[in-house]
């Protein structure tokens, strides 16, 4: 019998597992990846190659991973996909596909550390093979030792573009353009926050060194606004544009490439928390995150959350939150422990850094002007912008939920994970309204966490 069930083995889940186990609570740690480490410490199979090459600080990750493996109070289920989670009368029921079979885990004490995925914005041609997310390009490098293409454009916004560009260069590819949509100067306004988070600055310079040695110069205030396919239907070139403060196009240039890695920060994966019924809220970057109190407890007593799902803030903040969640959950099941002042201070410091990041990389509404009527909005259901407009202007949809029902936008296999966030903005824009928090939160509602092929379920019987 496990006292604490932890979902997600990234920086947050690993830290939470160790803290709970150290306090005396037996832990079951579940993750769908075949290996521990989450997104930040994603690794390839053992003995595959020198894993450090693609990492800034793999040593911390290995330290945590090995500590988790060494503690006998922690049972690990890797490669276990949770596809359904429900909460009834204080009991949480998880349905999990593990080793080809369906397992059911009932628990009162959960820590959710399900992380985040790349935030995307649509643009003409973003569905062409070769257009990817930066996280996708990086996971191929870190997890599989594969460079997605030789000539790579890295674009979008946020500090995550740096490790991706550096990773491509280290793997022998060439970064033909590195474009940051925001202007660089905003950083100076957060000087104090930078000083108290000096390790993060070191990390940035570590990537910048690789990038500048390869003679790649980041261009600020520029973005990829369209992608073009060759006759074989695969990516051949992208249009890059100088954009103004509101992301409106000023001047366009075409550039040849094999891969375009384009991302706009991250979106928290709150599907599991949402289906349990945890309260969610809209963060400053307009993303939906899980609400937690100072002990990392969600609105459901006994259910805790840590890491990117409570707000995008990077691996250090995830670890700091994970420790607090682990201690709080252990305390909840009767262990004699307390969250220390030092834990809270560490979390606060890293939270200030996360807030500064959100201020430094704002996504401005002008991206909508890059779209054409025939631009795909929902990749799964192949809904284009004109379909969405039709549902509003001809069929009378007055909110994103109705527009979704009328077009099937966001109702495909990914369940709106990719388009849900920006469809709310597109629909509101067409109606000349501002999206409400209710609009944003209802867009992340997912009854099933991950659709699984029928063949797999049949095996479980």
């Amino acid at each position: 019998m496990h006292n604490v069930v932890i979902i997600g083995a990234g920086p947050a889940g690993l830290s939470a597992s160790l803290a709970a186990a150290a306090a005396g609570a037996p832990v079951l740690l579940i993750d769908s990846n075949p290996r521990l480490g989450g997104q930040y410490w994603r690794m390839s199979a053992d003995d595959f190659q020198d894993q450090h090459n693609q990492h800034f600080d793999l040593d911390t990750g290995l330290l945590l991973i090995n500590a988790v493996k060494a503690r006998k109070e922690i049972e690990v289920w890797s490669g276990a996909q949770i596809w359904s989670a429900t909460n009834k009368d204080g009991k949480n029921t998880l349905r999990i596909i593990y080793q080809g079979k369906e397992r059911i885990v009932n628990t009162e004490n959960l820590i959710l550390c399900t992380g985040a995925y790349d935030r995307t914005l649509p643009f003409p041609g973003w569905d062409i093979p070769g257009v990817m997310t930066p996280g996708g390009v990086q996971s191929l490098l870190k997890g599989h030792g594969v460079l997605a293409g030789r000539r790579v454009v890295v674009a979008g916004s946020g500090p995550f573009l740096l490790p991706v560009a550096a990773g491509v260069i280290k793997a022998g590819g060439s970064v033909v353009a590195l474009l940051e949509a925001s202007k660089s100067r905003r950083w100076l306004t957060s000087f104090f926050v930078l000083l108290e988070n000096i390790s993060k600055i070191k990390e940035a310079f570590y990537y910048i060194k690789t990038i500048s040695e390869a003679k790649v110069r980041a261009r600020f205030g520029q973005a990829v606004i369209a992608a073009h396919a060759a006759s074989n239907g695969e990516l051949e070139s992208v249009d890059i544009a100088k954009i103004d403060r509101n992301f409106r196009i000023k001047k366009v240039q075409n550039i040849k490439c094999d891969v375009a890695a384009i991302g706009w920060g991250f979106t928290a994966d709150t599907s599991l928390a949402g289906s349990l019924g945890c309260n969610q809220l809209v963060a400053k970057d307009d993303g939906v995150v899980v609400w937690v109190d100072g002990e990392q407890q969600t609105s459901i007593p006994g259910v805790f959350a840590a890491g990117e799902i409570t707000g995008i803030g990077g691996s250090d903040l995830s670890m700091a939150e994970g420790v607090i969640a682990g201690i709080s959950a252990a305390k909840f099941v009767g262990c004699n422990v307390e969250v220390l002042k030092a834990h809270r201070k560490r979390r606060a410091k890293r939270q200030r850094f996360a807030n500064a990041l959100i201020r430094a990389y704002p996504i401005k509404p002008g991206w909508k002007s890059w779209l054409k009527d025939e631009t795909i909005i929902c990749r799964c259901e192949e809904v284009c912008l004109s379909d969405l407009k039709h549902s509003i202007n001809e069929l009378g949809a007055t909110d994103s939920r109705t527009a979704k029902l009328l077009t099937r936008c966001g109702m495909g296999l990914c369940q709106g994970r990719i388009c849900g966030r920006f469809v709310v903005d597109l629909v509101a824009n067409e109606l000349n309204l501002s999206p409400t928090d209710t609009d944003r939160i209802s867009a992340v509602n997912r009854p099933i966490i991950t659709p699984i092929p029928l063949g797999v379920l049949a095996l479980g019987e």
């Binding site: 769908s32 075949p34 997104q39 390839s44 199979a45 053992d46 595959f48 190659q49 995925y117 790349d118 569905d127 062409i128 093979p129 070769g130 257009v131 990817m132 997310t133 996280g135 996708g136 390009v137 990086q138 996971s139 191929l140 997890g143 599989h144 030792g145 594969v146 997605a148 293409g149 396919a229 074989n232 239907g233 695969e234 990516l235 994966d269 990749r379 799964c380 192949e382 495909g412 296999l413 990914c414 994970r417 990719i418 991950t450 659709p451 092929p453 029928l454 063949g455 797999v456």
Partner: protein
């Protein structure tokens, strides 16, 4: 980079992979960027998110459709096929 111990087929091609690599990663390493075609417009699609979120990389693996190439681990003797639309 490392030894290629694994061999599987993708339609008529033989593809090699290293232990632990996903089907999608091995196909990209072989410079195969298009994995399937969409249901309605028959547009080509490939690996997009790379971490199992977007469902763009769907392929048929040993007769079972709708498998995400980016997360299915390559195994020797696997028969992987292009997926057209929602089924093979």
């Amino acid at each position: 980079m490392s030894q290629f111990d694994i061999e599987f087929t993708f339609d008529d091609n033989t593809i090699t992979a290293s232990p632990g690599q996903s089907v999608g990663a091995a196909l990209l390493a072989a410079n195969l960027r298009s994995l399937g075609q969409t249901r309605f417009n028959k547009n080509k699609r490939g690996v997009f998110c790379g971490i199992g979120v977007c469902f763009d990389c769907l392929v048929v693996v040993d007769g079972i459709a709708n498998q995400r190439a980016c997360i299915v681990e390559a195994k020797s003797g696997m028969k992987v096929q292009t997926q057209v639309g929602s089924n093979a």
